[in-house]
Symmetry: C2
Amino acid sequence: MTKKYKSEAMAALHESMQGLHDIGIVPAKTMRRFDASCLAPIEDMAPEEIVKVRNEAGVSQAVFARYLHVSLGTVSKWERGEKHPSGPAITLLNIIKRKGLESIYA
Amino acid sequence: MTKKYKSEAMAALHESMQGLHDIGIVPAKTMRRFDASCLAPIEDMAPEEIVKVRNEAGVSQAVFARYLHVSLGTVSKWERGEKHPSGPAITLLNIIKRKGLESIYA
DNA sequence: TGAAATATAACACTAAGAACTATACTATAA
DNA sequence: TTATAGTATAGTTCTTAGTGTTATATTTCA
């Protein structure tokens, strides 16, 4: 396995696989608390889905923006497809989608 | 109250106060599920604190980056103070700080 | 000894996001 | 009816977070 990885994503995934491959043997320093389910590729949030998530939370764009710590304009652009949420933003949106708006601040 | 608000943050806060002010009366469309504690200004994550949060999670920069859906380089820059986390990123970091790394994917 | 994980570092480039302003629709209250 | 305020879209300019890549050094471990 002298293979080089093209991206750090692959490197991290390899790191995961390595740990899962070594049956029961969890490498000391690395790998601890490592969960493969987290590393599942995140689904990109479609504009309509963002609107849906926000509506289900029952808040306006302005309030939603405050929760996520982005500007109102940014939320508007997400929902119109003008801009795409960044990685951390998508992560937050998914958390809200799965666990509700309350889960990101309580 | 014909006052204009200088920022959307203030506007959102006003929206909150309005709802809390009207004793027991929760405005129909707006205000629902609104929580003032969420709108508390988020504390900016210091570089050392990011390192601390990550170390308490017990993961490497690469794994931490995968969880947050940012690049490894970005985490490195955060921890060295070269770049500051974006709003959503700070939000995630605070969630991890308070509720653990598991809380952002489970 | 060597392989791999870890972390720092510097580069050029892209695009997310901020801040601001204007417009328009809608619902409620006077 | 007329205001007023909340809501959302939209456009513009600008800043900077973040990406992707590569290189280097140290450490860990087989």
